[in-house]
Every structure is written in structure tokens, then in C-alpha cells.
């Protein structure tokens, strides 16, 4: 399987899914016109990755803003990770936020609430 790379633009985050390292990195803001087509690619990649091996997976996020449908899709992603975690897989999420944007930290906490896998909220110093 190959890596997934999606360039960032003004309304869409950069996405790098690294098959070798088992890391999906997303950076930027997410309010694309069609958030589901973006997140579908990530979900598909994630499903293939989890199916292909028993290796660990990390979702490394630095998202300053998510619109409602991105949020909805992000919940799908977390749910898939939760399921993998319940099957005994080594999965985790890192939620990075800019200290100048406390709202992003709050959002991370809010999202973390429903999951039992490792979900770390980390401040990035500007």
C-alpha cells in the first residue's frame, strides 16, 4: 500500500498518511466544500492499513478549526480508531493546539471525552 498525501489549501488541511511509520498527520483548518470526500480518503486508507497488518497507528492532528461536517467526519475517524483499540490494536491520537488558540484545546478535550484509547492533548509553543 502506498502513502496518502493531500496538499493543504485555505479551507482544507494537509494530510500525510505514512504507511511505513503508521502515522496519519493532519495540519491546518478544515472547512472544505465537500468534507466527506476528503475524510473518505483518510477513512479508506485507515481501513486498509488496519486490515493489512497488526502494526500501531497514530493520528497526529493540528487542526485549528473544524466546521460541523468535518467534525462529523472526524468522529467517524475516531470511532474507527476506537474499534481498533477495542480489538487490542496499539492506536493513539495526538491533538496539538496553538496556545494562542485555547478554543482548539477545548475542542480536543471535548472530542477526547468519548474514547478510551490514548488521546494526548499537547500545546505547541509558537
Amino acid at each position: 500500500m502506498q502513502n496518502l498525501t493531500i496538499e493543504a489549501n485555505q479551507s482544507s488541511p494537509s494530510v500525510i498518511a505514512d504507511w511505513e511509520r503508521g502515522v496519519i498527520t493532519m495540519r491546518g483548518e478544515s472547512y472544505p466544500e465537500n468534507s466527506f470526500s476528503l475524510y473518505e480518503k483518510i477513512l479508506d486508507w485507515l481501513a486498509s492499513y488496519l486490515e493489512a497488518s497488526k502494526r500501531s497507528l497514530q493520528l497526529d492532528l493540528e487542526l485549528n478549526y473544524l466546521n460541523t461536517s468535518s467534525l462529523r467526519a472526524m468522529i467517524e475517524l475516531f470511532d474507527a480508531i476506537q474499534e481498533a483499540s477495542e480489538e487490542g490494536r496499539d492506536v493513539s491520537v495526538i491533538w496539538r493546539y496553538d496556545t494562542r488558540n485555547p478554543r482548539a484545546a477545548e475542542l480536543g478535550k471535548e472530542l477526547k471525552e468519548d474514547y478510551t484509547f490514548s488521546f494526548v492533548i499537547v500545546a505547541i509553543d509558537p
Binding site: F36, T68, R72, A73, E76, E83, L107, E110
Partner: protein, 299 residues
């Protein structure tokens, strides 16, 4: 869709319903057909709910463990609750951000007074109000005396201290309903709603007194600062720009007569209209905007 799902993907009630529908038992009252329709509708409602919260491709059941209808329904409800909660929070954050931006766009950061943009809007509003309902206002244009000298001698920190002090002194010498703004560098403009010239002069005198009592901490002691004020009362037919030009000319008079005083643009019935002749303080030097009366310092 659901009716073709394996039995083990249904919960107990759902299994019983499917079993009842598939049994060949006599159905005298047509209940089974009703149950069949109700069952199909229930399944359809869950699918519709799923398609609201996410498009079909994200709800591909092949990618997730089997779920019975009730579980699928409950999952969607839970997701909706979370999304609504987070969206609500986003919206209140945006509202707070909006307020902060509004504050930043209408206020001067250093002194906390309203800024020129805000004051201009309020003056225009006041002009419109006077046209419709009549009334009056007066403008006080206050300028720090020898401000450059303070900055050059003691540094910008002391200069900033002076501006903050002057702003506070000026603001506190006015009535609550009066508006006070930072108009330019070391220039402040107050709008005294409903005031005539006499009332404005009283306020100007009070403001100067408050400025005189300011003390600025500098290395090795303290220094004091004074200000000069130009006063003008709105005249019928004027816009705030006209009134301001007369206040500006009066301020120039206060400066040229020795500072630390106010001068008023006096109303006058001369044939030469005010405001048209004097464009700025420098221009008004050669073309005085009209007779002015002045206070003397510490009178």
C-alpha cells in the same frame, strides 16, 4: 436492506419481529402486513437518519462490526448530540471573538478610549439626530502641550504614560453620557451631547484642571504636563466636520496664546461663514475661523 441482514445483526425485539414476519401463522386481521410495513419504515428511518449525519459512503456497514437497528439509531443520536454540543461551543466562541474584534476596531489600545473611527460614526449619528429632532452638542478638541518635548526628553514610555494620564483626566472631567475618544497622536476629541457653549467651557476648564494635576514618574522624580483645548458648539446647519474645524481653529488660538488654556469658537453673525475658510489649524493661521474667547491658565 435490513430485512436481508443476517439474524445475528438484530437485537432480540428485532429478531422476534423478523421471526413473526417469516412465520406462516394465520393472520386473520392483517396484522402481519402492518407489521411488515412498520418494520420497513423503521429500517428506512434509521437509514435516513444516518444519511443526515453522514453521507452513505461513511456509513458503509461492511467496514464496521454488525450493528442492529437500535444500535445504529442510538449511535446516530449520540453523534448528533456531540456535534450540536461542539457546534454550540464554536458559535459562542465566535461570538466572543466577534465582540473582541469589535472592541479592538472601535477602541484605542493604549488609552482604552474609543478611537477616531468610532467617534466619527457617533458624530455622524448626532448630526442625523439633530436634523430630525433638533438639539445641540459641543466638541472639545484637546491637545497635549509640548508633547514632542516629553517624548524626546524622557522617552516614549513616559510619552505613553502622559497619553494614558491625559485620557483618564479628560474622560473623568466629562459627564457619563459624553463621548471621549483618542482622535490622533496626542489629540483627544470629546462630544458633549446636548451641551451649549457655556456648558462646554465649564467642562473644558474642569478638564484642564485635571490635566494640570497629572504627575508623570520619570527617572529621578516626576514631571507635569498641561493641555490646550479648542471648544466649539454645533450651530444649526453645520455638520460635525464644520464644528470640528472651528474647534480646531480655537485650539490653535489656545496654543498661540500660551497653551494650558482653552479657547472657544464664538458664534458670530458676520457674513463670512465659519468652517468654509478654515481647513486646518495651519490654514486657520492666515484665515482665522472667527473670533474666539480664551481662558487664561490657573485663572
Amino acid at each position: 436492506m435490513t430485512s436481508s441482514s443476517p439474524r445475528d445483526r438484530l437485537d432480540h425485539l428485532e429478531q422476534d419481529i423478523v421471526a413473526a414476519l417469516e412465520s406462516g401463522a394465520v393472520d386473520e386481521h392483517g396484522c402481519r402486513e402492518l407489521l411488515q410495513r412498520l418494520w420497513e419504515r423503521t429500517a428506512d428511518l434509521v437509514v435516513r437518519l444516518e444519511s443526515v449525519t453522514a453521507p452513505e459512503q461513511l456509513v458503509m456497514d461492511s467496514q464496521r462490526p454488525a450493528r442492529h437497528l437500535l444500535a445504529r439509531y442510538e449511535r446516530q443520536i449520540k453523534i448528533l448530540e456531540r456535534v450540536i454540543r461542539i457546534s454550540d461551543r464554536n458559535q459562542s466562541d465566535l461570538k466572543r471573538l466577534n465582540q473582541a474584534l469589535e472592541e479592538a476596531s472601535t477602541h484605542d489600545q493604549l488609552t482604552g478610549l474609543t478611537n477616531r473611527r468610532f467617534m466619527t460614526d457617533r458624530c455622524r449619528q448626532e448630526d442625523r439626530r439633530i436634523v430630525r429632532h433638533g438639539g445641540s452638542y459641543a466638541l472639545l478638541l484637546l491637545d497635549a502641550d509640548y508633547f514632542k518635548r516629553i517624548n524626546d526628553t524622557h522617552g516614549h514610555d513616559v510619552g505613553d504614560q502622559a497619553l494614558v494620564g491625559l485620557a483618564r483626566a479628560f474622560r473623568s472631567s466629562l459627564r457619563q453620557e459624553d463621548l471621549c475618544s483618542r482622535w490622533g497622536g496626542e489629540e483627544f476629541l470629546a462630544l458633549l451631547i446636548g451641551a451649549n457653549l457655556e456648558a462646554a467651557e465649564v467642562a473644558a476648564g474642569r478638564s484642564l484642571e485635571a490635566c494640570r494635576s497629572l504627575r508623570l514618574a520619570v527617572e529621578g522624580g516626576e514631571v507635569w504636563i498641561t493641555a490646550s483645548i479648542g471648544v466649539a458648539a454645533h450651530r444649526a446647519g453645520e455638520t460635525y466636520g464644520d464644528t470640528l474645524r472651528r474647534a480646531d481653529a480655537a485650539l490653535y488660538d489656545a496654543k498661540s496664546q500660551g497653551r494650558d488654556r482653552y479657547c472657544s469658537a464664538k458664534d458670530c453673525s458676520s457674513s463670512q461663514p465659519f468652517g468654509l475658510a478654515s481647513g486646518s489649524r495651519h490654514l486657520s493661521e492666515s484665515q482665522p475661523a472667527g473670533p474666539a474667547s480664551c481662558s487664561s491658565p490657573r485663572s
